[in-house]
Symmetry: C2
Subunit: 331 residues, 2 copies
């Protein structure tokens, strides 16, 4: 009888301490599921995220470039904007973007709310203005009512629009990846190769920038530390924001969460697949030439970072009215 | 005791006969909810409907022009295609399209399956080829498995792709509009004005073409019967298909189901709102000048045709692999 109590207790103590040790010692932390959300704001934000009437053309929405069906990005090197203009930079994933320390590749927006207003009024992207967006929303009675319910005011302003979109985006975290299951103590969640890939990821120095809950998203780093990065992209990264020579070609380290889904890679989207991305990163950032086998191990680890994708009902949008300004796709 | 049985029986007989009378005498029939569907095919078809990799650019999907968030159309006069090409015709709604007697405005596709292959390979629209679509799908193991499960074969072909999309589209009917509730015997479902609008719709002759389950979609008619229709649109309708002079400017009568959501109207999208559409239809097709009041009554009836919109989880798509051909948005 004593044994019957003792053994489970010992197993418990062992599991508990092992779990704590794993949690304590690993530089990557499991994604915490969303615990605090303004659901009313988020539901409104979901509609706005999918509403193409936030663009001049009536054809582009947030979801056009940050597609929640596949990795929260458009899976293109650079994005398609108004009038099929070619964007200058690869669309970063919206998944887990609430975990980033700043938004955009160059960090020019402090948070999701500030970010959300950018593409709407960028002439390269949605090509609209904040004023015109408000005109559209005010002309739609169901939106007027919903904004009133959510924000308790009679008017709609761009601050509320970006606030609601940001609140929806906060729901787009992807917990429960196999890697997180392993971090949380389920040793069977990863294969031996995947664990070996993770060890290599740490030992090689990738972990220096790609760590924490988002496995990145917490610092700016120069693209091309050991060797310069050759690219046709005109993007100068943080340098273009601060004007400092020392910030040229510094970009936000992207999250590696769901990296299997967020191809192609880098700020210019030039790395088509993970093998190429790992190879370039090894050489340019760490001065390491990974063997084919080591590269494959690291890639196998990276693929364990795919978490539960956001699951929601496709939103039904309120119709325009006779008073709604017409979209202008071909002007 | 006798009365207790007799009265409910009488009520039943009254309700039953009234319902039958209503059902029997009205030229519009309630939409029947989907009763027979191949769910496996439809779930695969839903993914394909939203998968932008069915286009050359990797940026356009079926949902780009037939947006299920808002009326199953793009709410633009004419659509945006590959490289922002301006389409020549207004995108018809996909909602209830299974009820149409033929597909496209000119009826050149006999059914949804035949229709689905069109835009994929149209250089104005998705600008891809059927062969390249199959190359993409074959490179994605999760699709290979799903096609195998659904169709029981080891290969993927365009016939299966369009079959699955069509099966999904069969689920996109919108029963339970207020008008259908009224047809089914709930007298309170419509206001007096809405019923008066319906009577006017019938008396004025609109019902001659807009009848049946889809309130349209069952015949070709000439656009401009009494007066010619003036338009810059180059579309010649059925005439371009048959080569017959008598078919010039004949178009499929569109469904009026969800017409509140499917603005703008007509094959050229030139009618911005329902008031304008009713006015033009009255003058050109029926030789009637509706008064402002009568026009408003008809519009109020038309808005009762909005049914339950399709409700489904936004699909998560399987990622591409290293072998997947790259999208070419800017070539």
């Amino acid at each position: 009888m004593k044994n019957k109590i003792l053994i489970p207790s010992l197993v418990f103590v062992w599991v508990f301490t092992t779990t704590c040790m794993v949690l304590a010692k690993e530089p990557i932390e499991p994604i915490v599921p969303v615990k605090k959300i303004n659901l009313a704001e988020s539901e409104l934000g979901k509609k706005l995220y999918f509403d193409r009437r936030l663009s001049k053309s009536g054809f582009l929405s947030c979801n056009s470039c940050h597609n929640l069906s596949l990795g929260g990005t458009d899976n293109l090197k650079t994005s398609v904007g108004h009038n099929w203009q070619q964007g200058q930079i690869n669309a970063p994933t919206v998944l887990n973007s609430s975990l980033n320390f700043a938004q955009f590749w160059d960090g020019r927006a402090a948070n999701l709310k500030e970010q959300a207003g950018g593409p709407i009024s960028s002439q390269m992207e949605m090509a609209f203005t904040h004023t015109l967006v408000i005109d559209v929303l005010k002309s739609i009675p169901q939106y007027v009512t919903e904004f009133k319910l959510v924000f308790g005011t009679n008017s709609i302003n761009i601050d509320q629009v970006t606030q609601a979109i940001a609140e929806f985006e906060k729901t787009l975290v992807t917990p429960n990846s196999r890697f997180d299951q392993w971090l949380l103590g389920n040793g069977d969640a990863l294969t031996e190769d995947e664990v070996a890939g993770y060890q290599l990821f740490k030992q090689s120095g990738c972990i220096i920038c790609h760590n924490g809950e988002a496995v990145g998203g917490s610092s700016f780093q120069k693209m091309g530390v050991i060797e310069p990065y050759k690219t046709d992209s005109p993007s100068e990264g943080v340098g273009a924001v601060t004007g400092k020579e020392s910030d040229r070609f510094k970009f936000k380290v992207p999250t590696l969460r769901n990296v299997e889904l967020t191809y192609p890679y880098f700020h210019d989207g030039e790395a088509e697949n993970l093998t190429e991305a790992v190879d370039v990163m090894g050489r340019l950032q760490l001065g390491k030439e990974f063997t084919q086998d080591d590269n494959a191990l690291i890639v196998s680890f990276l693929k364990t970072l795919t978490g539960d994708q956001p699951s929601f009902l496709f939103p039904i949008l309120p119709p325009s009215t006779d008073k709604t300004p017409q979209p202008k796709p071909f002007e």
